[in-house]
């Protein structure tokens, strides 16, 4: 039984360094590589700390190669950390003890675990046997999960005949059969269409509410993160760049907010430059970037000075912020 105060995931100084062989291009390099290898160290994760309470829904963000999948695999016990302490559900993941394995599940969007040529029911039965779930309990859980996921006769069709969305839902069902306390989801909505993505997100939110399971997910789709995760861990070049609510991340990345004005009378561009950076200016429509601290007074001033038909204040889209951050990082690396 976990005490209320102990986090279900505790990582301290978590690091992972890979040693990879380097090869020079061209035929000469090939033969040199054949005879004498050269290695270099790749730090995938550099000493990150975080703690996650039971029942939280946390998102791992970061560009490709940032280390988020490595972190997730360390949390699930697949990869051994090079250094640092890690406790998940009170156990060391890399030991992969039976009790720990019963408490977790890993679902990967780009790899499937269901047997391809057989209906999901066969994979479900195997999982039920492996996790020691009694027949009656299995039937009940399948019914409940199938209800939530809107799956019916799909469970009786071979997996290869299901659409990507149905397959993902069946994967989720099979993975949650043993009611794990912690769900590791690696790109769960990869390749799904918009409706399917929405359904999966709804399901995860409902599941978290109903069972109090802790959900850790990585995703490229900001939609997943914004819809599901109250808390975001941004991993950037192997380090933890941000740990906190998504809103905070936005403020941190973008100290500005967007103000969109629709005017009664068109005004020249220079007039607005005093209030902030002009992003776009078209006769009656103006878009400004205003520093957060000055937002209220700037808006008041704008309303007072001009004849404003409509005014909208919003955050720059998070995708853009991410993109510029990672672009910057790419430039720094180069």
């Amino acid at each position: 039984m976990s005490a209320q105060s102990t986090p279900i995931v505790l990582a301290q100084g978590l690091s992972k360094t890979y040693r990879i062989a380097e090869k020079q291009p061209g035929l000469k390099g090939t033969f040199r590589h054949l005879l004498r290898r050269r290695y270099r160290d790749l730090e995938a994760v550099k000493g990150i700390h975080f703690a996650i309470e039971e029942g939280e829904m946390v998102g791992f963000l970061g560009p490709n190669g940032a280390g988020k999948t490595t972190t997730l695999k360390m949390l699930s016990g697949l990869i051994h950390p090079s250094s640092g302490e890690l406790l998940v559900a009170g156990a060391k993941p890399q030991r992969r003890q039976a009790r720990f394995l019963q408490d977790i599940t890993l679902v990967m969007g780009n790899k499937q675990q269901l047997i391809w040529d057989l209906p999901p029911w066969d994979s479900i039965r195997v999982n039920a046997a492996v996790y020691g779930i009694p027949e009656g309990v299995m039937q009940r859980r399948v019914r409940e999960l199938a209800d939530l996921l809107e799956l019916g006769e799909e469970l009786h069709r071979p997996v290869r005949k299901l659409s990507l969305g149905q397959r993902m839902k069946a994967e989720l069902l099979t993975s949650l059969l043993h009611e794990p306390r912690v769900l590791f989801l690696d790109e769960p909505t990869l390749g799904l269409d918009v409706t399917a993505q929405g359904r999966v997100r709804d399901f995860l939110a409902t599941y978290n509410r109903r069972t109090g399971a802790t959900i850790l997910l990585t995703s490229h789709y900001m939609g997943d993160i914004t819809a599901l995760c109250e808390r975001v861990l941004l991993i950037h070049e192997g380090a933890l760049f941000h740990d906190g609510p998504l809103g905070e991340l936005t403020s941190r990345l973008a100290p500005h907010r967007q103000v969109r004005l629709e005017l009664q009378q068109p005004q020249p561009r220079q007039v607005f430059e005093a209030f902030g950076t002009v992003e776009s200016h078209q006769e009656h429509q103006v878009q400004l970037l205003v520093p957060r601290e000055q937002l209220t007074e700037t808006v008041a001033a704008l309303l007072g000075r001009f004849d404003v038909l409509d005014l909208e204040v919003s955050d720059p889209p998070i995708e853009e912020l991410m993109r510029s951050l990672f672009q910057q990082a790419g430039e720094n690396e180069a």
Partner: protein
Amino acid sequence: MTSARAAIRIARTLLSTQYAYMLEYRAEIALWALSGVLPLIMLGVWQNSGAASQAGWNPGQLRHYFVAAFLVRQFSVVWLIHVFEEDVVSGKLSPFLLQPLQPLWRYFAAHLAEQATRIPFVALMLLALAWVNPALLWVPTPENLALGIAAIWGAFLLRFLLQTLSSMLCFWSERAAALDRLLVIPYLFLSGLVAPLDTFPPAIKTVALATPFPAMVDFPARLLAGLPVDIGAGFLSLMLWCGLLSPLCWLSWRRGLRRYGAMGA
């Protein structure tokens, strides 16, 4: 649920699921069965050469031996390394590692299921042989049949353990299957699959008997064919080799997993 009952349930479910899965691949398995004709081809060569009679074998014994060897091979074939290597390289092994079941059991169940799926095709091939030349087939005595089947099971287990050992190399090298191919060579030539051990010069025969390979084909084939064979020595050899390989497999599995975890699962 007691752990014995749980284990039986897992075994039952795995086997039935894998059997259903193998049935989807009937055509491929039929082809695999067809690819096991090597002993029959060798029978053709040996029949026409006088060398077998030199070793004291009459044509009938030669025929029965090679057909028995053919059967033994059909039901002791192991393909673990190919699927295992694929699963390691593609990362499919990872989800198996996160379930509270030793992944090797899945592959073992798959092999047993595949053998069950093979039975009708092998039966067909035997019928074809009988049609070509009825003298090729015979009815073994009940003891020979029972002992022969037990020996085939032992040979399968031995080959599975040996290939498990090579498969563990998948964690260190991406070309472990190539290494396993090397092991096929002594299997082909020293096990009695392509030439009866009795035709070997005495020195080489002694060397061969010191390896696990004769236990994989020569011993079960001779039992089935009703040829003179030391039953006790044969089963002892099987047990000793299995006993030697099991702890090695277990040890290399643990080391292999550590390596898998270190290199990125």
